[in-house]
Amino acid sequence: MTRHFFADTAVLTGRSLRHIARSLDTIITTAITPIAMMLLFVYVLGGAINTGTDSYVTYLLPGILIITIASGIAYTAYRLFLDLTSGIFDRFHSMPIARSSVLWAHVLTSLVANLISILVVVLVALAMGFRSGAGVLAWLAVGGILILFTLALTWMAVIPGLTAKSVDGASAFSYPLIFLPFISSAFVPTATMPGPVRWFAENQPVTSIVNAIRDRFAAQPVGADLWVALAWCVGILVVAYLFAMATYRRKLA
């Protein structure tokens, strides 16, 4: 069975990528909310926000990218839910294929779809004046963090995708994730926040991930934030993966 894992995953990933290519609106919807937020914060609120940097859009972009991923994975859960309810999952599972390819295909598709949305958002940010002195290595590091974060949230999205009772239920879990960057260093520096809020903001994953990406964009030397960010991403990834796989096995039993 497992000898077909890569071939089966490739075939099934091709299938769901075709779904994405035929409903590009989902990628546009994914990118539009973060772009609207970026416009709002840069051109309406940004003037009154003091971040101690020259360009607010450059300060803001890392957080906007996190929001892009958090709203993008809602579609991962949605696509998984549709496959499950349409009966095509049963068809695949009754076939002589490597069963876990069915999940991996959704995970890889989620990665591709999110990377496209991220690219769109970065292009808009560039048009709005985002500039970075980052070299190739720093950009690769940013890409690596974003890929890890997308994989972590995607495996998290697999759980509601498999267990939801309705379409709304499948994507509702992403709302708190989209909200999390607001209580972090994504929009404003945490220094102005009152005690308990500040403590939460400084110790939740988004702040370290945002800071790590921001430092790479600013071509700063590697600091503790990068390691904390990577630890969060890998930690969430491992836990989400284990829970998702357990849910998947329970679903099959």
Binding site: V11, R15, R22, G87, S94, M95, P96, A253
Partner: protein
């Protein structure tokens, strides 16, 4: 790609039990299906027909009892069972966003066969879907979807095919098309297990009929044997009126 056949019955089910929470859906189901025959599992909604099919197609685990398909145990030799079967579920399990041809090619690839294009085109031809081949399945009618669904199940020539309520929700013409497809399958030696809640469907198609009720098979036999369970037929003279189905098919022009 078909697994090695053995001399045992194509499907052998003994003492199958399955509960969902406190609801005991199956309470000791026994039946055998002979190779190359059409076997109808008859029962009302919620009788557990789909549960039986899901256990036989390795999608569900039974709580107790044994089930074998093509000589392989569903619990311990699941991979061999999957190699031997195809499942056409209760709702046409086709990919709506892909075209009919892409759906077929997808299954050919997942069955690890070569020459996907030729296999797909042959099946499209055989099921009268050549014209619709390049159209998205979301634009298909219910009958076309079902035909595509069954065509997908034939890829790789599995020796055993499960059809779970294959004609539910179809119009009369779609129903006749599916019946013909099932007869063709059996004629070519494939074993077919179909579930249905339509008595006439079982009567039309099946070599053997089993009635699933209260979690058990309460009757199992040929149509002739089942009829003998009732008092002998009386001869009555009744004027033969055309049924609405006859009228419908005569007007819309059916070939059968």
């Amino acid at each position: 790609m078909t697994a090695t056949p053995t001399q045992a019955p194509a499907i052998h089910v003994q003492g199958l039990e399955k509960s969902y929470g406190k609801v005991e859906v199956l309470q000791g189901v026994d039946f055998d299906v002979a190779r190359g025959s059409i076997f109808a599992l008859l029962g009302s909604n919620g009788a557990g027909k789909t549960t039986v099919v899901k256990i036989l197609s390795t999608l569900l685990k039974a709580d107790a009892g044994t089930a074998g398909v093509n000589g392989f145990d569903v619990a311990t030799q699941a991979a061999d069972v999957r190699q031997s079967i195809s499942l056409t579920g209760q709702f046409a399990a086709v990919d709506e966003i892909l075209t009919g041809r892409e759906n077929l090619v997808l299954v050919v690839r997942l069955r690890h066969l070569s020459d996907a294009g030729t296999i797909a085109d042959d099946l499209l031809e055989r099921f009268g879907l050549t014209e619709a081949a390049m159209r998205k399945v979301s634009k298909y009618s219910g009958g076309m979807r079902r035909r595509l669904d069954i065509a997908m199940s034939l890829i790789g020539n599995p020796p055993v095919i499960f059809l779970d309520e294959p004609t539910t929700g179809l119009d009369p013409q779609g129903r006749l098309d599916v019946w013909q497809a099932v007869r063709d399958l059996a004629a070519s030696g494939t074993t077919v297990l179909l579930t249905t809640q339509y008595l006439d469907e079982a009567e039309q198609l099946a070599n053997r009929i089993a009635i699933l009720h209260g979690g058990r098979i309460i009757v199992d036999g040929t149509l002739g044997e089942l009829k003998q369970l009732l008092p002998p037929a009386k001869i009555e003279y009744v004027e033969k009126q055309p049924t609405l189905e006859d009228v419908f098919l005569a007007i819309v022009g059916s070939e059968s």
